[in-house]
């Protein structure tokens, strides 16, 4: 070890240095605290042995200075002193000494105290190195997560769909860098608006991976590989697959045994923007909310089990004829299951419906922003317990063609 000795009395200093060198250590010696402090600042030391009473700067003040410096390198400090009074020991430990050695020092005692110090120094070094490695690994993971989050966000709708008859908006607030929620908005064949919200059970990377895989499966590629497509045209929606059939196919793709016990809920809608005819299927997902003339429209509760619970699940489909001026909301449960910090009360679907009804006259994007900020204000929290996803679709009536 590299050891710094601070001792004003030269015979003791010489004896300590001699013993330390005989034990194979590299030693620098100082005749007082100030000289020791100067030496300490010129080269790194593993261990400092310091006398208590010294001219110019005492051992206690030297220790205070050493411990006062922010340093990643741990230094073990041994006080060499004639004092053995308990209060002095306490004072030394309080300012940062690690151990004491009484004068006149016993060379065997010095040797074993150094061994103990060396063990601590080695442990501290190992810990320090592992902390650095851990921090670097954490940084790498954070960078990877940030990159994955960018990929995930890139799969969200790039822009809102605005036609003569329809106008969409969406809001997405993940709780972590990666979310289990996903949103899709696709206008196919210039007529059929496919909208969906997905909510994967759990959080973090596994939920996000499942969510991204589901988004891929529901990508609006023209090929038959897309679950949104039914090239046979049997759905009555052009080449767009019927929502209940999309749910069936999605469930086939995400077999429970391959999803690591995770499942996802989803609501899938296909709106014929020309006629306002809406078809939807739910897989364990909350009902949509349709606001008409400032009031919610009662809806049936047709649906089915979440995706990846059982194989060969069937899904009921519901259809609704929208009226001009209707606003359709799809959302994840994070938008109404949030608890209030003050009393743990849940926001609930009634409050959410009331909030959306009140905001129905506003632009859909503004309305969603306000709905989410109202939830945060009500809950009294900075962040939400669960991912929050919401879609608003305004249908203004049949478009003149």
């Amino acid at each position: 070890m590299r050891i710094l000795v601070a001792e004003d009395e030269r015979i003791t200093r010489g004896s300590v240095v001699r013993q330390l060198e005989a034990l194979g250590h590299e030693v620098a010696a100082a005749a007082d605290g100030e000289e020791a402090w100067d030496l300490y600042n010129t080269a790194p030391f593993d261990l400092v042995i310091t006398d208590w009473e010294m001219p110019r700067l005492s051992g206690l003040d030297l220790i205070r200075r050493i411990r006062g410096v922010e340093s990643a390198r741990f230094v073990y400090i041994l006080m060499l002193t004639g004092r053995s009074d308990k209060t002095d020991v306490v004072a030394g430990i309080e300012v940062g000494a690690d151990d004491f050695l009484s004068k006149p020092f016993d060379k065997e005692e010095l040797r074993v105290r150094l061994l103990a110090g060396e063990r601590i120094v080695r442990l501290e070094r190992t810990l320090s190195r592992q902390n650095i490695e851990l921090r670097e690994a954490g940084d790498r993971i954070r960078q990877d997560l940030a990159a994955a989050a960018r990929v995930q966000r890139a799969m969200l709708p790039r822009e809102n769909i605005v036609t003569r008859s329809v106008r969409t908006a969406w809001k997405y607030v993940p709780t972590d860098a990666l979310a289990g929620d996903a949103i899709g908005l696709h206008l196919l064949e210039d007529r059929f608006l496919v909208a969906f919200v997905i909510d994967v059970s759990g959080h973090g990377v596994p939920a996000a991976l499942l969510s991204v895989t589901a988004m891929h499966a529901l990508a609006p590629v023209p090929e038959a590989a897309s679950l949104l497509r039914d090239l046979s045209g049997s759905s009555g929606l052009g080449t767009v697959r019927a929502p209940a059939q999309i749910a069936v196919e999605l469930n086939r793709r995400f077999r429970s045994e391959e999803s690591d016990g995770r499942f996802l809920t989803t609501i899938l809608c296909v709106l014929d923007t020309h006629s306002g005819f809406l078809r939807l299927a739910r897989a364990g997902h909350p009902l949509p909310i349709i606001i008409r003339n400032g009031k919610p429209v009662p809806l049936g509760d047709a649906g089915g089990l979440p995706i990846a619970i059982v194989s060969d699940a069937d899904y009921e489909e519901e259809s609704i004829q929208l009226e001009p001026g209707d606003r359709l909301h799809l959302y994840s449960d994070g938008l109404f299951e949030q608890h209030r910090v003050s009393d743990a009360e849940s926001y609930g679907i009634v409050r959410l419906t009331g909030s959306l009804a009140e905001l129905a006259r506003l632009d859909p994007g503004v309305a969603l922003e306000r709905a989410v900020s109202s939830l945060a204000e009500w809950a009294g929290c900075e962040g939400f317990e669960d991912d929050v996803s919401a879609v608003a679709i305004d249908w203004s009536g049949p478009a003149a063609r």
Partner: protein, 115 residues
């Protein structure tokens, strides 16, 4: 009269290195009486803290030579200085000076005999 220091302990302490011992005895011979002079000066000036500091340094120096009686005499002066009670300090210092002088003589003789 009993020897002022323990030969066995001292030789073990310096790993039987007589050359090193000779060096340290030379230091004690030079520095020890100077510290006694410092103590006397401090007593004369009524500087109790100075008495304590010089006696403390001398006590540390003596502690290297396995000489418990001289070390105890230095400790006594140190305590008087630190307590601020200088009345008995002059007498205690003379006792210390005598013991130190005897220790230095014995150490030099010891080193010379083994050189």
């Amino acid at each position: 009269m009993a020897q002022a220091f323990s030969e066995t302990e001292l030789m073990d302490r310096v790993d039987n290195d007589i050359a090193f011992l000779a060096e340290t005895v030379e230091m004690l011979t030079g520095d020890g009486p100077s510290l006694v002079a410092d103590i006397r000066r401090a007593i004369g000036a009524g500087d109790a803290a100075g008495v304590g500091r010089a006696a403390h340094a001398l006590k540390g120096m003596i502690s290297n030579f396995c000489a418990p009686r001289a070390q105890a005499a230095a400790l006594e002066v140190e305590k008087l200085g630190k307590s601020g009670d200088l009345a008995p300090a002059a007498a205690a210092t003379e006792t210390l000076a005598t013991m130190l002088s005897g220790l230095i003589d014995e150490l030099n003789a010891f080193v010379k005999a083994r050189a």
